[in-house]
Amino acid sequence: MVSSVRTDLPTAPGLARSPWTWVLGVLALLGLVAWIYELGHGLAATGMRDVVSWGMYIFTFAYLVGLSAGGLIVASSAEVFHIEALRPLARLGVLTAAVFSAAAGLMIIPDLGQPIRVLNLFIFPNWTSPLVWDVMIITVYFLFSATELWVMVRRPERKATLTTLAFIGLPLAVLLHSITAIIFGLQMSRPWWNTALMAPIFVASAILSGTALIVLIAWILQRYQGLAIPRATWRWLAGLMVMALFVDLFFVASDYVTIAWDNIPKDRQVLDLILPGGPYQLTFWFEWVIGGLVPFIILASSKLRAKASNLALAAALILMGVYAFRIELVIPAFVNPLIQLPPGTSLGAVSSSGSFQLIGHYSPTWVEYLITLGMFALIALAIAVGYRRLHLSRTIQEAAEHVAD
């Protein structure tokens, strides 16, 4: 296969000379600076306090875990279900899986009060804790996708090994999302989380956001790097997205209906926060309209979905919608604690309004924004470097030639 290397591929300027590299590098550096500031000031530098005690780091973590799925699912599906059209994106998919799972693991670090003790997770694991299982599965998932990537790039002739890896990868991705969901789903102290639907929702939204991510990257490569992605590949990706979008919103809606009909006060309180008119309604609009209805119309219309740029638009909107879903999942669950009596919960700080809070409040600080933004910049850099160093453009192009349009 190496003999058929094409020489007529567009030669983009080296990474070091691209202004994007510098922008991303500066952003990543700013994130690092913000983290050093946080290390000096403690988590008091964040907007979290004892009522809303998890914030941007955790919902971004859940988001990154979801994004790491799509790649591996697209890559494995090509092999497991013999979908030739998805084969060109297999390596890219595994690369994103490796990068995003590593980033998800890293995202936990700034959320820890004692990051220096992070190895305690491996030294003193408490196996009843879903968090321990999640740390383990993220580690395994990262090592697995890194290994699969290595085999794909360095030992592409080992077809049987690659098939085996694909068959392992698919259930591994499902497991990763189920366990991450269980961190939330098992907590009876948070009625908003305590639903058996949590794992299915996480798997569906992971397939949704992960596929959208692949679509967005593939479109950027086609638009700015001159790669030709076959039309059949776009068709499959569009189909995957619309199916996942439908299943995901169906699960979420099932939860809404159960809560609305039962009208159990502590459940209903959360739903009222996010439904139109509530203080967190922005997440609802992003999840259901901007990242739900609009991309659904684009993907359902045979005219609109025929254009790759429309697919990219739908993918971008879906990515926003799924991020909104993660926010909606984490923050409102904390706002109204089970025991909500005056004067409220002790904040662990003295604010201008006293040292108690009856109704939780959270807004992220610049430290949280910079660290999160820095993480996204780091991810983009890692994918760009990986794409370049692993010569993905060549393999995408080669595989694309085998796909019938």
Binding site: T46, F124, L131, V135, Q269, S346
Partner: protein, 235 residues
């Protein structure tokens, strides 16, 4: 082996916060930290209500002249089936054989999963360097270890979770928790729930003391005699 428990008689509680302030003093809880709080509630109401009638403390509920007022002193419930212990990824939160739920300040990684998992909202995280006014250490004043694990420090490190220890230092020295001693109306009774003749056992088994959010199955060792209950503690 004893199983330590407490019964709080809400019909006696006057809502003076002496237990909360006493707790703050002996455990040297910094500004903004309350291991123990006295919440304003209604008699016989479920603790898990939709929303408080008013955000203000000490305000009676109802319409004049049918007003009613009750207090719910709230700290760690020292559950036998503790969600915080189950979710702690590193086993920093642990249950001693006598029922005490304690935190190992040397092992806690500060992930705050326990804060999310606790249905009672009694865990407090050390967000930043503690502020104290006046700025000197009061209370126990020295570290305390049980089974080699550091479960009390006068100044807790930034980035770990802390909460009520049921005054493990005093229990191990055969004394009662400080909140029990300082309560001016004797609304708190401490004792061994495994001893059927202890006062706490009698109050639980014969007088109908109840657990908070019992429906969740956390099985706390702290019990409450509702405020409508006839005044039967100790006299």
């Amino acid at each position: 082996m004893a199983r330590w428990g407490m019964v709080i008689d809400q019909s006696k509680c006057v809502g003076c916060w002496t237990c909360a302030v006493g707790c703050k003093a002996i455990n040297d809880e910094p500004l903004g930290y309350w291991w123990n709080r006295v919440l304003t509630t209604e008699p016989d109401s479920s603790a898990q209500i939709a929303a408080p009638a008013t955000p203000a403390v000490d305000v009676p509920h109802g319409t004049f002249p049918n007003l009613d007022l009750a207090f719910l002193p709230l700290a760690c419930q020292h559950c036998n089936n503790a969600p915080c212990e189950k979710v702690c990824p590193v086993g920093a939160t642990f249950r001693r054989d006598d029922g005490l739920i304690l935190i190992d300040y040397e092992r806690c990684i500060g992930c705050r999963y326990c804060v999310a998992a606790c249905p009672y909202g009694v865990r407090i995280f050390n967000w930043g360097p503690a502020k104290r006014e006046p700025d000197f250490v009061i209370g126990y004043g020295s570290d305390y270890r049980t089974d080699g694990r550091l479960v009390f420090e006068p100044v807790r490190p930034v980035g770990v979770v802390e909460k009520c220890t049921l005054c493990v230092e005093r229990i191990d020295a055969h004394e009662q928790p400080f909140c029990v001693d300082v309560c001016p109306v004797g609304a708190r009774v401490f004792g061994d729930l495994d001893d059927p003749r202890s006062e706490v056992s009698v109050l639980v088994n014969q007088e109908g003391a109840e657990q908070l959010l019992a429906e969740l199955g956390t099985d706390p060792n702290i019990f409450y005699l509702p405020s409508s209950h006839p005044n039967k503690v100790s006299d």
